[in-house]
Symmetry: C2
Subunit: 369 residues, 2 copies
Amino acid sequence: MQLRPLAARQARPNPLRSGNYDWPRPRIGWRDRGDVIDLSALGDVYTQPSLNALLALGPEAWAESLAQAPVHDGPRLPLAAAVLHLPFEVADYIDFYSSLEHATNMGRLFRPDTDPLPPNWRWLPVAYHGRAGSVVVSGTDVRRPRGQLLPPDSSVPVYAPTRRLDLEVELGFVVGVPSTRGEPVPAGRFADHVFGVVLVNDWSARDIQAWEYVPLGPFLGKSFQTSISAWVTPLALLEEHRLEAPQQEPPALQHLAGGRDWALDIDLEVELNGEVISRGNAGTLYWTMPQQLAHATSNGASLRTGDLMASGTISGPRPGSEGSLIELTDNTSFLADGDEVVLRGKAGELELGEVRGRVLPPVLIREGT
Amino acid sequence: MQLRPLAARQARPNPLRSGNYDWPRPRIGWRDRGDVIDLSALGDVYTQPSLNALLALGPEAWAESLAQAPVHDGPRLPLAAAVLHLPFEVADYIDFYSSLEHATNMGRLFRPDTDPLPPNWRWLPVAYHGRAGSVVVSGTDVRRPRGQLLPPDSSVPVYAPTRRLDLEVELGFVVGVPSTRGEPVPAGRFADHVFGVVLVNDWSARDIQAWEYVPLGPFLGKSFQTSISAWVTPLALLEEHRLEAPQQEPPALQHLAGGRDWALDIDLEVELNGEVISRGNAGTLYWTMPQQLAHATSNGASLRTGDLMASGTISGPRPGSEGSLIELTDNTSFLADGDEVVLRGKAGELELGEVRGRVLPPVLIREGT
């Protein structure tokens, strides 16, 4: 049997398909190739509508879960007949900027007259808080957002649908075990707190972002929607895909040291309207997940069950490995209404859940304002 | 009877005081001068450990609540004997930058070589997402955070306790009624969604912030703790304290127009170790709360019950009305360990709940790293 990620929230039967399943309420499932195994007989945490109760239990319970789930003789549902829900309730959502190649590319585009990397970039994993309430599950369409933006050659902004809607392929990790306020969590404690990973599409409106982001960072250019995979892949399944991360120069300060053996050899793919337009790998990230966690808590900020921390766009050194359209097309081409984007990740034979979404036209209300 | 804000979570008896109260579990209360009235007999939403259930009910239920609570003949507890809990579970936390004087002062300090106001500032209420999980109730001490900062005349950062710990006095509003993803909420719908206001101390580590904030905005310089009042003051109690906000030049674009009659005549006070060091007024804010709400949702981002949106530091045009130490002392003096900060707000005779907190020394673990 090929192991698949532990399921997220599960699964109402699709009324359009026949079958002998009757799963009227979400519950936790395990994905086994094209099937989903209902785990609800394994205990109360598996009857919950999200993974949060299981996440809070910690590494021992997670290990037990991984031992039981793949061999559990529970009811099965074809994956295509399952309704996949948001796998966990997101507490806070942090988005990093951990790819050297992405940060360099974006610096060149947004700040062409300066060093593309800001002075802090090699010293800490730059990040901002995103909007937790805008995180949705794969399969949710994305409405083209309106926002304030500056038309070319104008100094007066307009409120209009974004003309530069972009995707970003990212890898996110999910916190299970909370931490105590005031107490940093060093990189070496990563696996005590973190349950697993999801793929993330951090939809971005580049024109809204460009106009708003100085001096307090991205806000509405990102906050309309963030899509994650329906399946959370436990860290334990990724053990054999861990690599040493690219060397850091200068070396990290001591509070960010460690965790360099957590580069994940996950092949990434961006598909646009059925065509693969980018192939990258999460192992190219400059800052690893344990370093991201150590940084985010280095001021004593506490972790909560359900915290989501994403890597930022993953772009590699090779042409064709860029994780966003603005980089792939040198700022010339963006998403059109009706476009469908699918992100995929694969560690050896282990497939992460995909992230799928189609672009809907802007809502018509308030047109012309 | 003088009306007081509807209470937040309530109230275990203080074992150090005698009395006939036995309130072992938090519940909703009403503050009546020096007393708290237990409202739990009014219905299930008042037996909850937070205001969220009541918040979600919407304006009609809020009005009914305001009619019943002040005259309710429930058990009373002296305010001093009550344990005040975080009044609501914070969904997302947005922090604006809505004071013209504050933005001007900060621009001069952080970016002395440029126009203090960025080009977007007069066109939209600049904002970022803060850390919802770091929001705590008044009375919670604040641990001096460590973080990466650049020592003077050095290009190599260190990880050390902040040397520039600051306070910020802000006014926040609390969302009750959710909105639909994809659908902006115009300024005119403000009172359909928003229940009331809290005072906010947005503790800030200026040296950490200065080093980290380019290009993605404030992160660890703010995310260690944000303190709010234990009492949420319903908008309805502030009706008679509404004023016209200062004129905007240029006029707001249509999607941010309206809501200009929502300047709140709330006198603000910052007390440091028993001495009042600043007196301002929330009515000086350039962007009003309905405009903040309209902006935050103008891209279709949805609202959730418990969303907290704060004004940003409120600084006025008069010397002595600045809402942070960095402004009050021209970047020369910050908080010392042991300092106690109290923020107070008063609209006529109506007192908002105070925000109190004492600075604790940095934790000793990881010293020297």
